[in-house]
Amino acid sequence: MAETLTKQDIIKDENIVYKKTKLMTDKVLSYCPGCGHGTTHRLVMEVIDELDAQANTIGIAPVGCSVLAYEFMDIDMQEAAHGRAPALATAIKRLMPDKFVFTYQGDGDLAAIGTGETIHAANRGENITIIFVNNGIYGMTGGQMAPTTLPGMKSSTCPYGRDVKMMGYPLKITELIARLPGTYFVTRQAVHTPANVRKTKKAIRKAFDLQKQNKGLTFVEVVSNCNSGWKMTPVKANQWMVDNMFPFYPLGDIKVDGELVK
């Protein structure tokens, strides 16, 4: 019987087991081939869709490669000034406490220029969700060093590799955030394999569920490649990420139910 199944028999609407969520628009993503931003976008939208929350969600796009996130996510969105997304989110959530409010930020945005806004929104325990895409570099502006760039890693502003003596240490902002009493759920994930994608989606779902319960700030870091900035093919970049980023930024939950893990 298997043998008799033709392509046409399988490719029918009722047999669909996976398709792009309708909360992603049809616009072609502006990201480089293989960039984790696309996957992360989709996961957030899948969760909003599952929560049936399109009408109750306000998203905030940062300044960074994902500055155009609003072109791809079919929800109401605001574009924030570089680093200030948590300030916007604070106001939105306080003015409209029944909405889901999330920011979507890169590592330059969140951990460099936006350090103050990030820490204070977290410390106030704002009931918002932060999706933090850490690719260890400034993708948008052409691959400059980020606060999260690894020691020895090259970028256009550390062309000989990050020298921690001169340029400082990579900043584990997520671990700092987790220590603040205002945060309730803090986790670090990735989206380079199907298993990781599934875990990340669960984490995002959990973050939004907790937001609904007004538990305080929920924070999902996604360690991602910036293959353009790293000057590698996407597949190599993912491997490099596994080999180099994960040891420094280990995946897993950091704070659960308001308690640090371990």
Partner: protein, 183 residues
Amino acid sequence: MTEEIIIAGFGGQGVLSMGKILAYSGIMQDQEVSWMPSYGPEMRGGTANVTVILSDNRINSPILTQYDTAIILNQQSMDKFEPEVKPGGLLLYDPNGIIRPPERKDINIYKIEASKEASNLGLPKIFNMIVLGGYIKIKPIVKLDNVMLGLKKSLPPRYHHMIPDNEKAIKRGLEIVEDVQKV
């Protein structure tokens, strides 16, 4: 003498560096030059183009809407720049990926199979040098010697080992460029 050129194609095709070598070649023969790229995130995966001007006099506007020469390396660029070549001007293109070849009658149209040739030679990176060779064959505004000097100047020393391959490519370009209208 003033030559106003647009070079346009995909991001990875070496458009900007071809322009840079051309500009440096102009400097080598004591000309004024300008090199004005499109810039910013649109370059990411998208198209890239650069306006190069070589002149014996002070260059005024580095940005142009009409060109003496257009060097076209993909279809989007063809659509955009074919109309902007001055009457009597030159359009040089690589037919790889071109679905609608140029149609104007009031300009000189040449093609160069640089992409094909580069993979034949097993040196896809020097594709742009083949195109450059083709261009200076048609319009010898810069002398080959000066191009070689310009090439050397524009490459950081750590890439100087690549000069022979580049030279080979330029010379190959001189040979394979074809006048489309004559064909």
